[in-house]
Symmetry: C2
Subunit: 233 residues, 2 copies
């Protein structure tokens, strides 16, 4: 059966969250005239991502959008670093995740892939985050789908099957595209096809990432242009 639609993970796969968040924390520091280890704060902010979603996935918290999970973590991190900021400043800084820059190949690669397939986000980021990001970065999505639509965070099965259902394609006609094996494994268990895109710089220069073994996923690509080549788009 042929591939009709591609669903993209976003943070790390489409956009370089780490460099973008560090740059925005640094800009905040300059404007606010405060200093901190901003790279470490970016990493700590991201490190809070999975545990905070886990509280929603487990039912400990009711559905909470990612912006709100991010903000609670940011408030803790600023307090921990002894940085004080007013609410509107914190809101603006929290929306750093709406202003992430794409990897150099993302816009051109998505534009090519869009000619042949329906392309959608399937991110844990909320709809407004993804919409604002796409508008600023010029990401040409056909539609914007999110954990927020399904009230389930990835890797819950409902997100992958919900995306196939709402696009009106069979799970095996939908391919998940991500830089993270855990996301792809969960997509595969739900019946989706899988494409791994290697983003070795996602976690910065001090962390080495390995390519998955050949054959672990149906496609393994160096970037979106390579994926477009492999898919004939």
């Amino acid at each position: 059966m042929s591939i009709r639609a591609l669903a993209f993970d976003v943070f790390g796969t489409v956009v370089d969250w780490r460099a973008s968040v560090i740059a925005q924390l640094e800009a905040f520091g300059r404007i606010s005239n405060v200093t901190a280890d901003w790279a470490r704060m970016a990493d700590d902010w991201r490190a809070g991502y999975v545990p905070s979603m886990e509280r929603v996935r487990s039912g400990e918290l009711p559905w909470t959008r990612l912006d709100d999970l991010h903000r609670a973590r940011l408030v803790e991190l600023l307090a921990g670093a002894g940085v004080t900021a007013a609410d509107p400043e914190i809101d603006h800084l929290n929306r750093a995740w709406h202003r992430l820059d794409p990897w150099p190949d993302s816009v051109e690669g998505l534009t090519r892939l869009k000619r042949r397939f329906t392309i959608t986000t399937l991110s844990n980021g909320n709809v407004s985050l993804l919409t604002n990001m796409a508008k600023r970065a010029g990401l040409p999505w056909d539609c914007v789908l999110s954990a927020e639509i399904f009230h389930h965070y990835k890797p819950d099965r409902e997100t992958y099957l919900g995306t196939a259902d709402i696009l009106d394609v069979a799970p095996e006609e939908l391919m998940m595209v991500a830089a993270h094996p855990s996301d792809l494994r969960a997509a595969r268990e739900a019946g989706l096809r899988t494409a791994f895109v290697f983003r070795p710089a996602e976690y910065g220069p001090d962390r080495t990432l390995n390519r998955p073994a050949d054959g672990e996923f149906e496609f393994i690509a160096n970037d979106f242009l390579d994926l477009a080549d492999q898919l004939g788009a």
Copy 2:
């Protein structure tokens, strides 16, 4: 408070459903070598729209996407006209609603409005219908929202407030754009701002539509280019 986002009704407001559906029914007739009053069938198909959604809105039916409501009505209409067709033909014909042509000003007008505002669909059409339509017609939505996301059909209040919530704007920062006063009145009751776009040809040459009275809605425009002019976009 300023306008941040525009939510567009689609059938009749963005696309000319009637001429498009008639053309596709006629094409079906030629290929299948059957004749019928296709213009009347298009009007009867559309006439089933509000009553079928009403069965969902009232709770008589569980949530049912518009494609499925459309299909049930189409099967009745074909049977009533003595036309037989195989399931794949009926499926293809039913997706005529995915292949509607935009009004001549729609793409250029939306492209202008998108520079200044977030632009989304807010249609009773399901997400795959709207996504397929946008891809074929080149409609440059920032995101695709639908009654299907909220499991409520317009004019249920949940659709208007749900759109503001998911875009993370206040109701008074969101403007509903539609060619139908009933949609706009319900949006206004939910706290949204309103723009009426006059589409006098929506129901064909034999039905005369009147412009609403000046002042009934915040903006009254002749088309999307006029709306863009009035909004400074």
